[in-house]
């Protein structure tokens, strides 16, 4: 099932070398999963992402993938309301060279408390881990809030 594409890609990173999301290359594979807006969602999301993308990443990178998926789903559960149907959405997409993960929730804005990804000393390590491990990442605030990241294969 093809989810509603996110239109506005806001690049958010402390890294100076950050690029916009990759557009070239046809999408090879795309899956959308609806997860419960509960603490158990992170476990489910990690399993789904690893099952889908694990074969395309090295063991170490697959671990990084699991960590980043866990962090985005945790933020959606802890800091945002669910979508109108009570779920959060895990969107997994792959083309010939890049895997992309999008986690959407029912929020309308990005919690400024989450934005401390370049100074994790305040205990918010989630986006710091995403910023450290993703090749590109960001979020959409076009009314259908979503955080995304990409990893090059």
């Amino acid at each position: 099932m093809r989810g509603r594409p996110i239109r506005a890609w806001v690049i958010a990173s402390s890294r100076k070398d950050m690029e916009p999301p990759r557009r070239e290359g046809a999408t090879v594979d795309t899956h959308e999963h609806r997860l419960p807006h509960t603490p158990g969602a992170a476990t489910i999301a990690r399993s789904l992402a690893e099952e889908e993308f694990g074969p395309y990443l090295s063991g170490e990178r697959a671990e990084d993938l699991r960590l980043m998926v866990s962090e985005l789903v945790t933020n959606a559960v802890k800091h945002a309301p669910p979508e109108p149907d009570g779920t959060i959405v895990l969107h997994l997409e792959r083309n010939s060279s890049v895997v992309r993960v999008i986690v959407r929730d029912g929020g309308t804005h990005v919690d400024p408390n989450l934005a401390g990804f370049d100074s994790p000393s305040d205990g918010h390590y989630g986006l710091f881990f995403v910023d450290t491990h993703a090749d590109r990442w960001g979020f959409s605030i076009d009314g259908d809030k979503g955080f995304w990241f990409e990893m090059d294969m």
Binding site: G40, A42, T43, E63, L67, E71, T74, Y125, F129, T132
Partner: protein
């Protein structure tokens, strides 16, 4: 889906932890350690069966360590992939926390825990040992 997490207490302040530490399971760890944290002392967590820890797992561990009035939490046997995450945020620098890894898998196939039954007077013996050797211990 059930949370993949287990914890077994095998001494007054010793716990064997297994599975994944995240927003679903960190509260289980906090609950299991409640008694030891309230008492204080050196609290040992064998982490060799923990394959995943995210920011919520880290947060749980840090909060437990901060609640200690005396002593510390020692995470030992930490797996390479988990210790990579701990190093990234310098977990070792947090108050009352120490992270130790083994060079290799401490429990390769066939290595079992020795059969051991705690003596009924374990608490008394521990108190006596500390009383006897207090002078040579850390001050």
């Amino acid at each position: 889906m059930a949370a993949a997490f287990d914890i077994v207490r095998y001494g007054p302040n010793m716990y064997f932890v297994g599975g994944e530490l995240d927003m679903a399971t960190a509260p289980m760890l906090e609950q299991a350690l409640e008694e030891s944290i309230a008492q204080g002392g050196v609290i040992l967590l064998d982490m060799s069966a923990v394959g995943f820890v995210d920011s919520m797992g880290i947060r749980g561990i840090v909060q437990l360590a901060r609640q200690l009035r005396s002593g510390c939490i020692v995470l030992h046997g930490v797996q390479e992939r988990v210790s990579k995450v701990f190093k990234l945020i310098r977990l070792d620098d947090q108050p009352n926390l120490h992270v130790e890894a083994c060079a290799a898998d401490p429990y390769p196939a066939g290595v079992a825990h020795p059969a051991w039954t705690p003596p009924d007077d374990l608490g008394v013996r521990l108190e006596a040992l500390r009383a006897r050797h207090q002078a040579s211990g850390p001050t």
